[in-house]
Symmetry: C2
C-alpha cells in the first residue's frame, strides 16, 4: 500500500506546468527555515526585488501569493472590488470567463465585452461599454491560455485611463515569455503563475499593484471577503519596512519561495529580452514546421502568443487520440476547451522547454501520430522546415 | 545582485514549520508532471487514501487544498456558511479569533464563546449559546497554536449534535501529533496544514468533510464566494470517479503534493499510534526538564498540546532576547502573541523533530540563555531530568 512515489519523466509541452530547470528542483530541496526567520525575510526581499524586475515595475506592492495563478486572479478581484462596484471584463476564452465569474462572486456588477475564441478583443468595445456607464475596473487576459491569443494591451489601457478605470491584466501565460511592461503600459494590477514563463513548479501567484490600486485597497469601505488573500493584512508580512516590523499573517510556503526565487534568478541571468527573443525564435521555428506539414495555426499571426501554440486539428483526425499517442512517448501536449474542444492542440514551448531540440521532438512525434491516423504528411517535413527557420 | 540562495541550517522548534525528513525533500525534487496526467491522477488518489487514514475517516471529500492551513480554515468557512447563517465560534487564542473573522467575512452572523488564553473552552458555554438561538455551525480550535491548549472535542460535538449544528475543528497543530478521530468523534469538517504534525514543508491544507457537510455544500442557495476554494468545483478535479472524468479547475501545486504524499507515507509507516506515543514521550521528557529548571508550563496538565509546549517566561527574563540567543545557535523557538506576548515561549517538538536529542539540545540552550540573563539554574539540570523521564 505504502509505495514509493513513481512518476514518469515527461516532456511537458502543454499549457504548463513546463519542465523545470534542475537548478530550481535543487533549490526547492533546500532545508526549510521559519517564515519569520530574519534569514527568510532576506529571501523574501530578494524574491520581491527579482519579481519587480521581471514585471518591469517599481510597484511597492509586488509579492508572490501563496496560491496558484487562479488564486492570484481571485486576490486581484476581491481586493479591488467591493459589492456593487462596476467592472468590465473582456472575454475571448476560458480565463476571461473565469475573471467574470470571480468578479461576480466578489459582489461586483459585471459587464462583458466579447470576441470569438481564437480572436483578440476589440478595444472599441471597451470604449462603448465605458461610454454607456463608467466602471471601477477594466479587466482582460493578456495571454489567453485557452486559445493562444496575445491581446494588445496599450489600446485598452488608453481607453480605460480616459474613463478613469483601473486596468487589470491576466499575465498567467505571458509573464517571462513575452514583453510585459507593467509601468510603461500603466497596468494597475496584474497576476501570473510560477509554472509557465518563470519556470518553477506550480504553486505561487506573483501579483503587482500600482500606487493607485494600492490606494483603492487601503481606502475600502468593506473588509476584503477573503482573509487569506487580504492584501491589507498581507502587506504587513511581505512589505514591512524593517525585519522587526514584519507581522505574521499565514505561514508562507517556504520551499515554493525557494523555487520561485531560483527560477526568477535564472530568468534574470538570461536577461528578459534574451528570453523573449529565444521564445520567439522557437515559436517561429515551430510554426514553420507546422505549416510545412500542411497544418494551420488557430490564431492570426499578429496575435499569436509565442509560448503557447494553438494548432488546428485537421479534418478526420481524432485530437485526443493524437494526444494519447504522444503521451505514450512521454510527450504531453493539450487539447482545446469549450468551443475549441477537439478543434485544436495547445503546444507550449515556454521557459526551460523553449529549446530547438523540443521543437524537433514534438514535430516528429506529431507527424508520426498524424500518419498513423492516415493524415498525409511526408516524414521529416516539419522538423526540416523548423531547422531552416532556426538558421534563417 | 543575483546571488545564490543561502539559508542557515536551523533546528526548527517553534510552532511550525518543523524540520522535514530528508526523504520528503527528495520526493519534492521529483520531476514535475502535468496536473491532468493519468500518472498524476494516481498520485492524487494515493494522497487522498493516505490522508483518509491520517484523518481516521471514510469521508469521500478528503483532499489537500492548494493553500496553507489558514486557507483551509477559509475554505471550510466559505463553503459551509452562506450570508446570514448563524455560527458559534469558540475563542481562547489567536486562531479562534481568526475563525470568527473569517466566518464574518463569509457573511455569517458570528457569536463567540470565550475562555482566557491558556485555558480550554467550557462546553457548557456552547450549550448556553445554542439554547439561546440555534446555529448552523459550531467551530473551535482543537490544538490552539497560540497557547498550547488541547481542547477536548467530544463534549462539544455531543452538544452541537443535540442542537443540530455542524461541527468544525481546526486541527492545524493536532493532526499527525495527537489523536484526531474525525469519524469516531463525528466531526463534520476539519482542516490542517502540511508543516507541523505531518512533516512536509508549508503549502498544503488537508481538509475533510462529512456526508452531512457535503450535502450542505451541494445544496447551497448562493455561490461560494471564493472561486479558488469552491469545493463544488474542486470535487470535479480531486474526486472524479474515473481518470477521464477529471475536470480541470486550477493547476495543482505538483511538487507540494509529492512532498505531502511522502510525508503521509512516513507517518503511516511509523503508524499513527506509535507517532502519537513518540510525541507524548518526548513532550513529557521536555516538561520534566522544564520543571527541573524551576520553570512552569502555561497550560494545566490535562489540556497540554503535546507537540507545542508553552513555557512561562520567569520574572526578570527578556523573552525575545532568549529567542535571539537561541537563534544565534541556529535553534528557532517562538514567543507569545497578544496577551501572551513576552509571557511565554512556544517550543514545538513535532513530526520529525520529536526526538530525544532535540529535547537535550533545546533544554541545554535554554539553560545557557537563562543563566546569561541571571536566572539561577545549575547547568545540566534540565537535560538530566529529561533523560530520567525518557528512561522511566
Amino acid at each position: 500500500m505504502l509505495t514509493e512515489l513513481k512518476v514518469p519523466e515527461r516532456l511537458l509541452l502543454g499549457p504548463g506546468p513546463a519542465n523545470v530547470d534542475p537548478r530550481v528542483l535543487r533549490a526547492m530541496a533546500t532545508p526549510v527555515i521559519g517564515h519569520l526567520d530574519p534569514a527568510f525575510i532576506r529571501v523574501m526581499d530578494e524574491t520581491i526585488q527579482y519579481l519587480r524586475q521581471v514585471w518591469r515595475t517599481q510597484n511597492r506592492l509586488t509579492v508572490p501569493l501563496s496560491a496558484t495563478g487562479s488564486g492570484g486572479m481571485e486576490a486581484v478581484m476581491v481586493n479591488l472590488l467591493e459589492p456593487g462596484d462596476e467592472v468590465v471584463v473582456g472575454i475571448c476564452g476560458l480565463f476571461g470567463q473565469r475573471m467574470a465569474d470571480v468578479a461576480a462572486r466578489a459582489g461586483a456588477r459585471v459587464r462583458t465585452v466579447e470576441a470569438p475564441w481564437g480572436r483578440p478583443l476589440d478595444p472599441e468595445q471597451f470604449e462603448k461599454a465605458l461610454r454607456e456607464r463608467p466602471a471601477k475596473v477594466v479587466a482582460f487576459v493578456h495571454g489567453e491560455t485557452s486559445t493562444g491569443v496575445l491581446q494588445p494591451v496599450e489600446p485598452i489601457v488608453e481607453i480605460a485611463r480616459r474613463y478613469g478605470a483601473l486596468v487589470v491584466a491576466d499575465c498567467v501565460t505571458s509573464l517571462g515569455s513575452v514583453p510585459v511592461e507593467v509601468d510603461r503600459w500603466g497596468l494597475d494590477a496584474a497576476y501570473s503563475c510560477s509554472q509557465k514563463g518563470l519556470g518553477a513548479p506550480p504553486g505561487m501567484a506573483p501579483v503587482t499593484f500600482s500606487e493607485r490600486a494600492l490606494e483603492v485597497i487601503r481606502s475600502r469601505k468593506t473588509k476584503v471577503q477573503s482573509w487569506y488573500l487580504d492584501l491589507n493584512l498581507l502587506m504587513g508580512y511581505w512589505s514591512g519596512e524593517t525585519v522587526t516590523e514584519r507581522v505574521y499573517h499565514h505561514t508562507a510556503p517556504i520551499a515554493m519561495i525557494y523555487a520561485l526565487r531560483e527560477a526568477l534568478r535564472i530568468v534574470l541571468e538570461e536577461g528578459l529580452e534574451n528570453r523573449w527573443e529565444r521564445i520567439r525564435r522557437v515559436h517561429e521555428a515551430f510554426v514553420a514546421g507546422i505549416e510545412a506539414m500542411g497544418l494551420e495555426m488557430l490564431v492570426e499571426k499578429p496575435y499569436r502568443l509565442a509560448p503557447l501554440n494553438t494548432v488546428k486539428v485537421p479534418p478526420g483526425v481524432d485530437a485526443a487520440a493524437v494526444q494519447r499517442r504522444l503521451l505514450e512517448m512521454d510527450i504531453e501536449i493539450a487539447g482545446g476547451f469549450g468551443p475549441l474542444k477537439g478543434q485544436i492542440w495547445r503546444i507550449g514551448l515556454m521557459g526551460y522547454n523553449a529549446q530547438p531540440k523540443n521543437v524537433f521532438t514534438v514535430l516528429s512525434a506529431l507527424e508520426m501520430a498524424l500518419r498513423e491516423q492516415g493524415y498525409p504528411v511526408s516524414p521529416g517535413l516539419g522538423p526540416a522546415a523548423a531547422a531552416a527557420a532556426l538558421k534563417g
